[in-house]
């Protein structure tokens, strides 16, 4: 059975903490995601996302603090704008924009984090493995 591979960029203060909380709460979710911790979601560069796809990721998750909750005051607003533009461009590249996901998870939302990974895994299963480039 096809198992999608997901890279998750998690901000240190909220979403990484949410992922930890999912653990302490023993909430079970699929094992398809590998996390890369960054200090703030705004550190995630669209180049990282493309690099992830090129390196075999079927999906990329960016997770940060809720708007207004950013540990660095306003980083996540930038993340959101970058995400909206990048999604549009991915579509032009023929990559289903559902392969890139931005989610806000507070450090109290272990359940939400688990749910996001679960949903994303399911969705990627229906999308199938990522196809890039091709052609001669």
């Amino acid at each position: 059975m096809y198992e999608p591979k997901i890279i998750g960029f998690l901000c240190n203060w909220c979403s990484y903490a949410a992922a930890d909380l999912a653990g302490t709460s023993r909430i079970q979710y699929p094992s398809n995601m590998r996390a890369i911790r960054v200090m703030c979601s705004s550190r995630v560069d669209p180049e990282h996302v493309l690099r992830a796809f090129v390196n075999g990721a079927d999906g990329v998750l960016i997770a940060g603090c809720h708007p207004g909750d950013c540990h660095y005051i306003s980083g996540n607003y930038k993340t959101e704008r970058k995400y909206v533009l990048l999604r549009e461009m991915l579509e032009q590249f023929g990559i289903d924009p559902r392969r890139l996901r931005l989610e806000w998870c507070s450090s109290a939302e272990g359940g939400k984090f688990a749910q996001v990974v679960t949903e994303m895994t399911e969705e990627l299963k229906t999308l199938g493995p990522i196809e890039l480039g091709a052609g001669d």
Binding site: E88, G94, A134, G135
Partner: protein, 324 residues
């Protein structure tokens, strides 16, 4: 000292690079004084078989312009690589794929369909498209393969130097040729242009990089003083190499990126997405709703075509996915 042997070749290109060579004006005489041109399809009647007959490394410097669009281009790239001591990717198309590289949002079938079947000016009742071989009464004719994907020169063979620009400016060409004559070329693989981005040599004034909206160039009357990006016009000078003398800017047009990305950038489009989405709407960002963000970002028309105007084939994704 023996005269050097130069070659010029054009692959998928518009011909502008050829003109650029002539644009060095009377300095061409200095070149001719010191170098013989042994191959230059646009100007000399040298055949491919003549080139094939050259000994390996016969050519001292080959200036190769244009992208790799067909099997002919690729064959010539390999051939000229073998016959040249130094291979220079000349111009944006050879360096990054250039404008022809934008065809990577499409593929052979789509292009053939459009060009040979769908365009209103086409009269092609049999719906014929170019074939690799055709048996004519006189014998079998062959055509080069038209690839799905346009490539830059270094993606098909080893390249020694990159001289970017659409086309490279006379000053850059002159500098490169001078370096060749004087033996002062930098290390192999170098781009013969400055490392910093265009803002370095841009005459416009920077006030504050916060942009509330995006406008197409025709929608604004630039004031000729302030940074175009700050006036809402997408200018790629922020991560496009300097070296062109900011010619477009001086003509009140934004930089479109023909000098290619600065050295650390792996994907010019992605970095532009990052930079421009970051500063667009930054003022008052905390009050913006999701819908307002979407509407704001939607002001950027055709992000792929804009941000990868010259560099799509060398981007991380290289092309649009072909659904087969």
């Amino acid at each position: 000292m023996d005269k050097l042997k130069f070659a010029f070749y054009w692959a998928a290109s518009c011909g502008g690079c050829e003109i650029a060579v002539l644009d060095i004006d009377e300095k061409i005489l200095n070149v001719v004084e010191k170098a013989d041109i042994v191959f230059w399809p646009v100007a000399l009647d040298t055949k491919y078989k003549d080139v094939e007959a050259f000994q390996d490394k016969y050519i001292d410097v080959c200036f190769f312009n244009g992208a790799i669009r067909t099997s002919e281009h690729e064959e010539m790239a390999h051939l000229l690589r073998a016959k040249s001591k130094t291979l220079v990717a000349f111009g944006a198309c050879a360096c990054f794929g250039g404008i022809p590289g934008l065809a990577n949002v499409s593929d052979r079938d789509e292009i053939f369909d459009l060009v040979y079947r769908e365009l209103p000016s086409v009269s092609n009742p049999d719906k014929t498209t170019p074939q690799l071989t055709y048996t004519a009464p006189e014998g079998e004719l062959t055509l080069p393969q038209f690839f799905d994907t346009v490539k830059a020169l270094h993606q098909v063979c080893d390249v020694d130097y990159f001289l970017p620009g659409c086309p490279p400016t006379p000053e850059m060409i002159e500098q490169a040729v001078t370096a060749i004559f004087e033996g002062t070329l930098p290390s192999k693989g170098s781009t013969l242009a400055p490392e910093k981005a265009l803002c370095e040599e841009c005459p416009l004034e920077i006030q504050e990089k916060k942009i509330p909206f995006i406008k197409r160039p025709y929608q604004v009357t630039p004031d000729g003083k302030r940074c175009l990006l700050e006036q809402g016009v997408i200018c790629m000078g922020i991560n496009t190499r300097a070296g062109c003398g900011a010619r477009c800017i001086k003509a009140n047009m934004p930089c479109r990126g023909c000098m290619g990305p600065t050295p650390e950038v792996a994907d010019q489009g992605a970095k532009l997405v990052s930079a421009i989405a970051s500063i667009l709407g930054v003022e008052g960002e905390e009050r913006m709703t999701e819908k307002e963000i979407e509407a704001l970002i939607a002001q950027i028309k055709d992000p792929l075509g804009t941000f990868y105007r010259y560099t799509l084939p060398i981007s991380l994704l290289r092309r649009k996915v072909i659904k087969k």
